[in-house]
């Protein structure tokens, strides 16, 4: 017995990894004198206990779907894109430039244009490391890390010296025009009923004018674009010639050369798609939430994409689920920050642990499962 059944490999390995990460995280909390169970309770309550909590959880989920898909596409081409963070920040710049360019007549037009801007800027930021990898053999892991640092310096420069409106102190762009405001989930008919505010006795809270009041949540129309992106990425990878070539190239560069697959072209295309997906995240946070470009707008979501892709086994459906998990973790972590003395950095610890167990110690998890399976078999015999 040295192989796992396929279902166990696909389902159990990530789940067990998650459990192990949770156990270690709990030990960390114990070590700093906190109660893991209480913390978990606060997290669940903060993320899923209220409609507003859901609104934030889904907002984070949206961002993580994009960055998770970004890492996934690059992974399939055999490329480890750690540059999602910088690409997402540049995507934010693209969104800001588009949104500030015109007094947009309707959010749908603005969304289309901003999406293109975000994708184009994200892709452009990925293009240089991709080109250096394809043509000069510069290790893409190192170059994308460098580009994250360069991106953040560049954004600071743009915000301080170029985009900052006269007289404003903090380094940020001007507020986007009203026509570029995306509808949030609580703005949408039907859906918004979920976000209706209630009084303590369960009756709907009414405004002075007698209308039902809704929680204002950051989750917005971008969520649906993110879900659509999952479908598109799935079809791209497993149904098209391009996807076939990307996956073949990722598995074996030598064999791809034999098959006549152009390594430079595939590296470039895969990284451009990857960068575009990371950049698209900005329509969620920059356009949908902050409505202006701020410093460090991606807030680490680019890096979380790595954990999401690993946890989701590089499959769009897995990415969707893992993004929801990390959405919970982020919103729940924020609740911890508000209600306890546990620092926000607890989220980084969990993120690191998930990446460690799913991406580097996966073999250990597999061996553990094989051992458990053989145990079960013996018991059955």
């Amino acid at each position: 017995m040295n192989k796992l059944p396929q279902w166990a490999d696909v389902v159990l390995v990530p789940l067990v990894s998650l459990v192990l990460a949770a156990i270690v995280a709990a030990m960390v909390l114990l070590a700093i004198g906190q109660s893991p169970l209480a913390a978990l309770g606060i997290m669940v309550d903060g993320a899923f206990g209220t409609a507003a909590g859901w609104g934030y959880t889904l907002y984070y989920t949206t961002s993580f779907i994009f960055t998770g898909l970004s890492v996934t596409v690059a992974f399939h081409a055999g490329l480890f894109n750690i540059g999602g963070e910088g690409q997402a920040q540049l995507g934010g710049l693209g969104v800001a430039l588009v949104c500030l360019a015109l007094p947009w007549p309707h959010w749908s037009v603005a969304l289309l244009a901003a999406s293109l801007g975000a994708a184009a800027f994200g892709a452009a930021w990925a293009a240089v490391p991709a080109y250096l990898q394809a043509k000069r053999g510069s290790h893409i892991v190192i170059t994308t890390i460098m580009f994250n640092y360069i991106a953040s310096a560049f954004i600071v420069y743009m915000l301080v010296d170029v985009l900052r409106p006269a007289g404003q102190m903090d380094p940020a762009s001007a507020k986007f025009p009203a026509g570029a405001k995306l509808p949030t989930l609580s703005d949408m008919p039907l859906l918004r009923e979920f976000f209706a505010r209630v009084n303590a006795d369960g009756t709907p809270k009414l405004s002075k004018a007698g209308e039902v009041m809704y929680s204002n949540v950051p989750a917005n129309v971008t969520l649906f674009i993110a879900i659509a992106a999952c479908v598109v990425v799935w079809a791209l990878l497993w149904r098209t010639r391009l996807g076939y070539q990307i996956r073949a190239f990722g598995k074996s560069e030598a064999a791809s050369k034999y098959a006549g697959i152009n390594p430079v072209k595939i590296t470039m295309i895969a990284m451009l798609i990857s960068g575009a997906l990371a950049g698209m995240m900005a329509i969620n946070n920059v356009m949908g939430e902050s409505e202006r470009l701020l410093q460090n707008s991606a807030e680490g979501a680019g890096f979380i994409g790595i954990a999401v892709a690993l946890m989701g086994r590089n499959h769009p459906l897995g990415v969707l689920l893992a993004a929801l998990l990390f959405g919970f973790l982020y919103q729940g972590g924020a609740a911890l920050g508000l209600n306890t003395t546990i620092p926000l950095e607890m989220r980084l610890v969990v993120q690191g642990l998930v990446i460690l167990f799913t991406g580097a110690l996966d073999q250990m998890v597999r061996m553990l499962l094989i051992w458990l399976f053989s145990f079960g078999r013996k018991a059955a015999a």
Partner: protein, 524 residues
């Protein structure tokens, strides 16, 4: 002798057993696969003992157990009559066992001297170890015709010399028992002869040699005794002088072997492929193919013979669009691009060239892809595999694969199975099916039966002949002379990036080809 001052072991009490090695009841399983089943055999001291068997017969597993790479599930090992546990390589070395692997275990950018002392240093500082090794190496070289420059880098040495370094490594560790795994696969006949002289010299010094090979000729020429393995069991051990190639072959496969391929005479048609002054440089700028020219006709098999590494791979790669080249390749009267973006595997396939590469696992297949995904590999842009402008037609591809798997007897016939789950022979059949079924004008086929079991060899050979009889041009590259001689209608021998000459398989013999392969004589 030079060795005595260097070793203390020879001084120990005289061994009581006439056998250097004796194995009793060795068994080893990998999961459900029984690699070795109750193996018993003994090797008399001071002899050359051959172990012969097909790929997968369990030879390498047995030797890995002897060298401490694997732990046997059951059984005992006696070295010089003494029960010896060999849990790791260190213990094997201490027991006086040295191993020359098929793939050399050398550090490429180290010198010969550094490679020799690695793991056998005298102390924590290098200088004294190096000085001592230099002296010992000099003595060993003189004694056994094992001369190599101790300061040369391994990457600058020929394969034959690298092998000598491996032997020196074992001798430096005072090995009394030397195991060589398929040592002649990479050697010219001349170098092989030199190796056997060295081995005989070692035997005369009282060393025991175990020679693992699948080449009957070497067994007959070099060994005193031979053990035959088949599917994990030791079938028989006989005195070489009292056996014949035919009887050994039968023991190996368990049935009469068809060593000759049944083929009719060729009916060559028009010239399909013209190659003129083709040259290829490797990534370091060194010319590997140094101006090759030939014609290939429809309905003809041109066999390229030669020791591995003499430009055959580069020839295939240039024709297949993998390597950049200079010169001229004309297919059906049209010149093919040799450099630039247009020189790639896709344009070659469109021009009518199919290519079964030498290394199927590394080049010919994506091991993690399923069989049906692999069936489109290289032909993924072919209109017949597209559903519409956007998507590939995966269902049609699966059905197509199912059909081809039946025709080519791929087992198990499951299109959804990953390539890595098939045996070597069945992987090769998938590649052969894919390439032959594209109805090419020219088939490039490299090492068609490397690592393939006898049954599949026959099948693949028959397919090649059938394709020839359909009027296709076939370029066959193989390091197996038998294969070249039985399949080809014409033979070209390559040495050092050039074609040394053309021969007619009807009139030539192994000796003549062997001389050409060694770069001796030749008409070109």
């Amino acid at each position: 002798m030079a060795l005595v001052e260097n070793g203390g072991r020879q001084a120990t009490a005289a061994p009581t057993s006439p056998f250097a090695i004796e194995l009793k009841g060795i068994s080893k399983a990998f999961g459900p696969v029984q690699a070795n089943k109750d193996i018993n055999f003994a090797v008399p001291r001071g002899t050359i003992h051959g172990i012969i068997g097909e790929n997968g017969a369990g030879k390498s597993t047995l030797m890995s157990i002897l060298y401490g790479f694997y732990k046997a599930d059951a059984g005992q090992i006696f070295i010089n009559g003494k029960l010896t546990a060999i849990p790791d390589s260190q213990s094997a070395i201490r027991a006086g066992i040295g191993m020359v692997f098929q793939h050399f275990k050398l550090v490429q950018n180290f010198t010969v001297l550094e490679n020799v002392i690695l793991g056998a240093e005298d102390g924590p500082m290098l200088n004294s170890s190096l000085a001592k090794a230099r002296k010992v190496l000099g003595d060993l070289s003189r004694e056994y015709e094992l001369d190599v420059d101790p300061d040369a880098l391994i990457e600058d040495l020929s394969v034959g010399h690298q092998q000598r370094v491996e032997i020196l490594k074992a001798l430096y560790r005072q090995a009394d028992i030397l195991i060589l795994d398929e040592p002649t696969g990479v050697l010219t006949p001349d170098e092989a002869d030199h190796l056997f002289r060295i081995l005989n010299g070692l035997k005369d010094q009282g060393k025991t040699i175990i020679l693992i090979t699948h080449k009957l000729r070497e067994i007959m020429e070099a060994t005193d005794n031979v053990s035959v393995m088949r599917r994990g069991t030791m079938v028989d051990t006989v005195k070489t002088a009292e056996s014949s190639p035919e009887s050994l072959a039968e023991l190996m496969v368990g049935r009469k072997v068809l060593l000759e391929v049944d083929k009719g005479t060729a009916a060559p048609g028009a010239v399909v492929l013209t190659v003129q002054d083709l040259k290829v440089k490797d990534e370091h700028g060194i010319e590997r193919l140094k101006g090759v020219s030939f014609d290939l006709r429809a309905g003809e098999i041109l066999g390229i013979a030669g020791v591995a590494g003499n430009g055959q791979s580069e020839l295939l790669e240039a024709l297949g669009g993998i390597a950049r080249a200079t010169g001229k390749i004309t297919l059906n009267g049209v010149d093919l691009p040799l450099t630039g973006a247009q020189a790639n595997g896709q344009t070659r396939r469109e021009a009518g060239i199919a290519h079964v590469p030498e290394d199927r696992q590394h080049l010919g297949l994506i091991m993690d892809f399923t069989a049906w995904e692999n069936m489109a590999f290289g032909y993924h842009n072919d209109p017949k595999y597209q559903k519409n402008a956007l998507f590939m037609d995966n269902d049609a591809l699966r059905a197509d694969t199912e059909k081809k798997m039946a025709t080519y007897d791929v087992r198990p016939p499951i299109p959804g199975l990953q390539a890595k789950s098939f045996s070597g022979g069945n992987q090769q059949k998938i590649v052969v099916a894919r390439e032959m079924e594209q109805n090419p004008d020219l088939l490039l086929i490299g090492q068609p039966t490397r690592g393939v079991d006898i049954g599949a060899i026959e099948f693949i050979h028959n397919q090649i002949i059938a394709l020839r009889d359909q009027g296709k041009a076939i370029l066959l590259v193989s390091v197996e002379l038998d294969e070249i001689m039985s399949l080809s209608d014409r033979i070209a021998v390559m040495f050092d990036g050039r074609i040394m000459g053309f021969s007619d398989p009807e009139t030539t013999n192994e000796r003549e080809l062997g001389l050409l392969m060694a770069g001796v004589g030749g008409k070109a």
